[in-house]
Subunit: 254 residues, 2 copies
Amino acid sequence: MTAHRRGAPVEALPRTLSYQRPKGEQLQEILEGVIAALQPGALLPSERLLAERYGVARATVTQAVEGLVSRGLVYRVHGSGSFVAEPKFRQPLTLTSFTEDMHARGMTPGSVVLSQAVVPASEVVARHLALVPGSPVVHLERVRTADGEPMALERTHLPAQRLPGLEAADLTDASLYKLLEREWGVRMADADQWASVVRLASDEAALLQVADDQPALLFQRVTRDQGGTTVEYVRSLYRGDRYEVHTRLERLEG
Amino acid sequence: MTAHRRGAPVEALPRTLSYQRPKGEQLQEILEGVIAALQPGALLPSERLLAERYGVARATVTQAVEGLVSRGLVYRVHGSGSFVAEPKFRQPLTLTSFTEDMHARGMTPGSVVLSQAVVPASEVVARHLALVPGSPVVHLERVRTADGEPMALERTHLPAQRLPGLEAADLTDASLYKLLEREWGVRMADADQWASVVRLASDEAALLQVADDQPALLFQRVTRDQGGTTVEYVRSLYRGDRYEVHTRLERLEG
């Protein structure tokens, strides 16, 4: 949990809103500026104070703050006010294991293995791994943690025949990619990933220790080795309040 | 709206579940296989029939179907059953305007301009566009439609001094990127984009014609021209039930 800190001096706020744009939108932008200048855990100016300063209805301020809450920039503590949230994790642009990514951020990665077994590939899994349905695949289900806090629920499928013994390897707090390279000489090279928005089922929300109605990012990824063979089909649920996806887009000449 | 079609023949379903894995998960995978083989609008086997065939509780089937609904693969019609949903739009890997993207899909893009004016840049907007706060920026707010259906709510900021007259240009059903190139010689070259999950405010949900509690994808993007100058800061809300983000990830040698 973030320690609460000293908040924004009111004098730093702009004095007035402009007439040309919706007041709620302007308030959100002002607060975003305030948030950017503060540390996580800092107290925001109270809604009452903001309503007075800008001569707007309290409900307008509340809605603006709720917009910031829904975007994960702010959290509320009942009876205490609104505070600056921890910044979201930006998924790196390169193919990186969760373990490597957390180490790069100076955090301690952890894994809780929920399931690790050889199972027959369903039609969908088989298609992604270019196998015949029913072929043996290693199914891994892990809760991934950062400094002990659950971040993601990963469900990975890998071809069992290529990776004999993976179902018995110790994956607690370990990097799967490092293990694949060390034990089976498999080096991951690239991946295609699709991210979409989902609602969590209640068992998933419980594993991630978030509210039942919390939306999440579903990452579906196929990962290929250096020979271009698909070695992994992953379906991960990442906490929507803690994660975002970074993409670099380049324009084709047309 | 999708026309309802003939559904899946029951004989095509696998006969049994395996003992090794949660039944709900296996049911979801079986249904995903069924969905992949059907057209949008096709009826899925009834929950009663699935519960009987696999000897599982009706609640297990309902939960599996709800998982597919939450991922946007299936929609329910009260009293009629569950149907295969339209596939999601995959945002292209290249920097593409909404108009170009819809044309490439054979759909008719449209825009409803809600706001188009020169306003002073807030601190956040100014930072993204590398301007001094208060500098004039053109603020555009548009609902983007595909074949008449609302898909996204885009809020764009562009530097007004570089693009004189943009606040008066006709943007209804037009491509902003084409206009920038034709009228001001500005050619977009690349962009950084961050996608995260948000809940829609009720006015945003109304503009997108979705339910109030529907989660959405928030895209924040800074777009640069061929000289590397940032020309655009966009914040767009894309419908979570209709969109997904495609990313290609490559591994750094380490």
